[in-house]
């Protein structure tokens, strides 16, 4: 028990040092712009289909599940606003971040872990190329920038899913549906939700990179790095979300 606790705190300390190095290197040239754009393409663009499917299903299912209760209270007209609020404030950021933790964090963990065990990271180091700057900074930055955009995309697709869900049982005009959503939304609903997605993205990237970069030698550790990246990133998302909701509750 004490040993587990000690290992956990050691891990937290190491992750903090790893993050500190990111902030030390992110502003210092050389800037790996080409690699950053490549990672944005891989992390952002290539995740679009997955995020679209989950976003659509989230909106659709949320609408179908909430409708009977609202009908019971004669509040069916609140359905678009409620679905949009739930999606934008909570469900889309968290579910998209979890999807990204599964797809991106594990991918980064496995990729860097494999590079570590096959000495590719060492090869960069001995060629006087900073592997942290080239591999880690670019991936963390790309995650931090792309996850919020993916969440916006999931919001939009989820709202579309909600529209389909409403029209399964009724007949609502798309313009009216959108008007109802915008009437029930405020900018203050969007701001805290967007801020927390930057943190989600940062931690998804950082945990994936940390796990991969610190994979010990041996192919077994590549699988462990990928697995551990998903578990740790998912858990971190929930903890961050809890903290974010508390802070939002205080200020908004």
């Amino acid at each position: 028990m004490i040993l587990t606790l000690k290992n956990t705190f050691t891990e937290i300390g190491n992750v903090t040092l790893f993050a500190k190095q990111f902030f030390k290197e992110v502003f210092v040239p050389p800037y790996e712009t080409k690699e950053l754009l490549k990672q944005c393409y891989i992390i952002g663009y290539k995740s679009l289909p997955l995020v679209a499917i989950t976003g659509f299903i989230m909106g659709l299912v949320l609408t179908l599940q909430s409708r009977p209760t609202l009908v019971k209270f004669g509040a069916e007209s609140w359905l678009p606003g409620m679905v949009a609020l739930s999606l934008i404030r909570e469900i889309a950021p968290v579910i998209t971040a979890l999807i990204c933790a599964g797809k991106i964090s594990s991918g980064i963990g496995a990729e860097l872990g494999s590079m570590k065990v096959t000495e590719q990271i060492d090869a960069m180091e001995v060629s006087a190329i900073n592997p942290y700057n080239y591999l880690v900074v670019t991936r963390i930055l790309a995650c931090t920038l792309m996850v919020p955009l993916l969440v916006f995309f999931a919001d939009a697709v989820g709202i579309l899913g909600g529209y389909v869900g409403i029209n399964i049982h009724g007949d609502v005009n798309f313009y009216r549906y959108l008007t109802q959503i915008f009437q029930s939304l405020e900018f203050l609903d969007l701001i805290p939700a967007t801020i927390k997605t930057f943190f989600f993205g940062f931690f998804i990237g950082m945990i994936g990179c940390y796990k991969g970069f610190n994979a010990s030698n041996g192919t077994e550790s590549v699988g462990k790095a990928a697995n551990s990246a998903v578990v740790t990133a998912s858990l971190t998302i929930f903890i961050l979300d809890m903290v974010a909701v508390q802070i939002t509750d205080l200020f908004f």
């Binding site: 096959t118 000495e119 590719q120 060492d122 960069m124 180091e125 001995v126 060629s127 006087a128």
Partner: protein, 259 residues
């Protein structure tokens, strides 16, 4: 032969006597009690090929990884080009690293890049003013040196073990290093390919006047390439001499490498 030497002088007469690389009293322990290096002393002269022999786990790779700063030793001094690499800042160490080539046992090619990109990547990072045509020409020249110009568009996964090591060597050579460290360059290769790699090492030495440290278990490679051989045992240099001298060494354990 010389045993447990502290400062070892090269035995070959034709080589320059200027030490380009010196290691003094190098110690490295992994964990609490896994003592790998217990006072390694060696020096390599300019233009010399030094082969290090020893059993698996005797600390040969650890020694050369300490030279390029991949592993931090617990104690000792490593002087390369008259600079103690252990006291250098990261940027100063990188300046030294550019002048040292390192060939990994596995080749360590970047598997997400083609052969061309593998070579050009390293080059472009250090020579930013080169035009794309100049980069291409240098890549081709490096590949010509290892006889693999045809593989330029292949991915590392499409290459055989021997080809991967040659491409790894080409990537090492592209920065024109003065010292090359070879970590078991012929391990896992058939006899013919091993000989080709050994001849390539020799060829590079003659063409580029490089200094090399070669870690190997392949005695044919050692015989072909070594100006001097050192045998590592129990974390120290146990014996040192030319191939012919060590082959007739009075110590049976040393002789056993040559049988």
């Amino acid at each position: 032969m010389i045993k447990e030497k502290k400062n070892i002088e090269p035995k070959t007469k034709e080589k320059s006597k200027t030490p380009i690389l010196e290691i003094k009293n190098l110690h490295k322990t992994f964990g609490t009690d896994n003592k790998i290096l217990q006072g390694v002393n060696l020096s390599v002269n300019k233009g010399e090929d030094l082969v290090i022999l020893g059993r698996s786990g005797s600390g040969k790779s650890v020694t050369i990884k300490c030279i390029v700063g991949l592993i931090e030793p617990d104690q000792g001094e490593i002087k390369v080009f008259n600079e103690n690499v252990l006291n250098l800042s990261k940027s100063e160490l990188n300046k030294i690293r550019v002048r040292i080539g390192f060939l990994f046992q596995s080749g360590a090619l970047y598997d997400s890049m083609s052969v061309r990109e593998n070579l050009a990547f390293t080059l472009k990072k250090h020579k930013k003013d080169l035009t794309p045509e100049e980069v291409e020409s240098e890549v081709m020249e490096a590949l010509d040196n290892v006889g693999l110009s045809d593989a330029i568009d292949k991915m590392p996964s499409e290459l055989s073990g021997g080809m991967q090591k040659r491409i790894g060597l080409a990537r090492t050579l592209i920065l024109k290093p003065e010292i090359i460290l070879y970590d078991e360059p012929t391990t896992g290769l058939d006899t013919i390919t091993s000989r080709e790699i050994s001849e390539l090492i020799l060829d590079i030495k003659h063409k580029r006047k490089t200094t090399s440290i070669i870690i190997t278990h392949d005695m044919a490679c050692a015989k072909l390439t070594a100006d001097r051989i050192m045998v590592l045992k129990d974390g120290i240099i146990h014996a040192e001499g030319t191939y012919e001298e060590l082959e007739k060494d009075e110590d049976e354990w040393v002789r056993s490498f040559f049988q």
